[in-house]
Amino acid sequence: MIIKGGFVYDPANGVYGEEMDISIEGGKVVEESRDGKEIDALGMLVMPGGVDAHAHIAGAKVNCGRIMRPEDGRRGIEPKTKLLRPQTGYTVPNCYAVGYRYARLGYTCAFEAATPILESRHTHEELEEIPIIDKGALTLFGNNWEVLECVRDGDLDKLAAFISWGLSASRGYGVKVVNPGGGEAWGFGGNVKGIDDPVPNFGVTPREIIRGLMKANEILRLPHSVHLHTNNLGKPGNYETTLATLKAVEDIAATRDRQVLHVTHMQFSAYGGTGWRDFESKAPEIADYFNSHAQFTMDMGQLIFGSATTMTADAPLEYGNARLLHAKWSNHDIELEESSGVVPLVYGRKMPINAIQWAIGLELALLTKNPWQVIMTTDHPNGGPFVNYPEVIALLMSRAKREEELASLHELASKRSSLPSIEREMDWNDIAIVTRAAPAKILGLPEKGHLGLGADGDVAIYDINPTDLDPSKDHSKVKEAFAKAKYTIKGGEVVVRDGEVVAVPQGRTYWVDASVPEDQAAKVKADLVEKFAKYYSIQMSNYMVQDAYVTHPRVVKAGVI
């Protein structure tokens, strides 16, 4: 296939809006294609397929949200067609809708951001049913007893061996850490208050857990860095915890060409104030720090007004949300590994806190100078559903749109944030970075997020002529075009044409197979035999995700040997 004549934005390869052809054959970008197929992209915007590095799209907590919210199911109903299966849901869409809707946006890859090992079979059962896109899942390690014990004993090699085992047991892609220590403390009705607050019964601190996991992550040379949801997330004044966390790991170096730590949905971790009354944005402080520390990356966690379903392994946070909002609520204990919770809520334009939160996400993206350090997410569906990405793109590209929005919000959004004074408007290149090139780089996916030779043949074509459209003024056209890709091409196959899904191939599931020395693996095995015998409610043989759960795997090798 040859994609002819589009304005190509491929920032990873230094291509900035050049009119050029892209050739794809055998699912990959090649020098020259001879299959005779042609896509006319003349006068249109061409980018690599979008990559979402953080969304909650599969697994037990997503399903808990669906069960808890039949009213959400009714909000996104699209009947089946000859080609497509029925779709339901807005914040917690069914599996089919997840695949179709990403594809319509021009996205070809999305990663589930948090799966406990114990729930991974469920996660993969859902990932298998998400059509079209490639996907993967990050595995939760931040409150696992074996991790806490290795950190307590200072045995990093054994910790690395456990991570290797945990990734294999969950068919997971990377190390996700959520409120380290807090989830374990929650099992006893508590939480940790900061990075130096010891975890009950283990005596280790979040600082030690984060440092230990980061070092083990680097010992294993994993493609992705540790992916951190900070302590005290969602609380006023938490930017101090966030900065203290980053300062606590400045001495750790990455063993691969990528960030050493990814802090996720930073919007929820950039708050000032001593309580909700003097709640304010500390995004400028966070962005300043990132501007002088290139080894860290983050994603926005942008808030979208309207309905959201918060879901996280941060169980004490969800308990607090439920009490505060008097909302429906579920909390869950995941045996030796994690806790979790789900709470639906509505973000209101006239709610002062929500309006400030909305501004914070945008401040973070616009004040961080290097777009490779801050990628676009809504922490779907915590900040809002991913189908709103076109709205976020329009906001990043147009100060006029931001001003229009600010005028409709509670006035504190303007008074307690720096957003009104920010002039910066992202250009097409910035957008290509924050929605595809950087997420792929941050996840460590060398074949995604760019259109160089050998890259996956994943392309998004939008009906926008970047040479005559002024995104600052015509932001509504930008939003419209990004909401319905003219074409989405996945592995060389046209899957979306004129905003409609026209083919439904099965995507692949990434997971990381990290090797460790046998003696370390044996030490971990011995511990696990004991833990399963003593504590787990199930046998180890019923616990591991078998190959039958991942029918189209893409195994990435890493490790010590």
Binding site: P70, E71, D72, G73
Partner: protein, 259 residues
């Protein structure tokens, strides 16, 4: 008034999803066009004319000037008048579930009885029922935080269980009895029951419920005083206290435990 008469051609064995029977949808169409409007009968798409005889004034009119007369057995015809904003629907007999779903204005008058979920999530307008109504009158559908937010429902007969569940506004009047848990999770609506009811106002946060007959009152309600309303002496309670509620429950005759 532009009058349109709709008569079932047969007794339906599976439900017909008739949300298209609404003044807003019929108004701009000619009779010929209305006959072609598609609805689902079970899992089959049908034109209205396949299921109903449709007659009346042929030319389009403003929706507020449309009167739809339903003549015959509509007890398996669901969602009539869904989201209607104005105009009138008059049913000479019974009507099926979900009549007046989310309606915002206009009037539905039912001479027979109504099925479950009558006027669910209604926002405005008026529904009157000469006979009885089923369960969940004016309620929110599964999972919804708010049922009816505005408007008025009058049932001259009796209502089923969960009358006005999750009411966030509006008024429901039942001249007969209500079943179990009327006004459950009330958040600001007004319910008046002429006859008896069982355990009204569970989880009520605000609003008022008046039972002019007998009712068993939940133990989480606190007696306050006796009040006189429309010549009837009623015991006034505050609750539901398990939910920190500030709702007002008035009951003429309190059914004692074990009675």
């Amino acid at each position: 008034m532009r009058e349109i008469r709709v008569v079932p051609r047969r007794d339906f064995r599976v439900p017909v999803e008739a949300e298209k029977i609404s003044p807003d949808i019929f108004a701009p169409l000619t009779i010929e066009e209305i006959r072609k409007v598609e609805v689902w009968e079970g899992n089959r798409k049908q034109a209205l004319i396949d299921l109903f005889e449709i007659s009346g004034d042929g030319d389009p009119a403003k929706p507020e000037e449309v009167l739809i007369k339903l003549d015959g057995n509509f007890s398996r015809v669901k969602r009539v008048g869904e989201k209607m904003t104005c105009g009138r629907i008059g049913a000479l007999g019974d009507i099926g579930m979900h009549a007046g779903n989310g309606m915002a204005g206009g009037e539905i008058a039912i001479k027979g009885s109504a099925g479950d979920w009558l006027g669910r999530e209604m926002r405005g307008g008026k529904i009157t029922v000469r006979g009885d109504a089923g369960d969940y009158v004016g309620a929110g559908y599964r999972g919804e935080a708010c049922g009816m937010r505005g408007g008025e429902i009058l049932i001259e007969g009796s209502a089923g269980d969960y009358l006005g569940e999750h009411l966030c506004g509006g008024t429901i009047t039942v001249l007969g009895n209500a079943g179990d848990f009327p006004g459950i999770a009330n958040r600001g609506g007004v319910i008046v029951i002429g006859g008896d009811a069982h355990l009204p106002g569970a989880e009520m946060a605000s609003g008022t419920i008046t039972v002019r007959g007998r009712a068993r009152v939940l133990p989480s309600y606190q007696y306050q005083e006796t009040v006189e309303i429309d010549g009837l002496s009623l015991k006034k309670f505050l609750g539901d206290l398990v939910d920190n509620g500030k709702g007002e429950l008035r009951v003429a005759s309190v059914e004692e435990r074990g009675a």
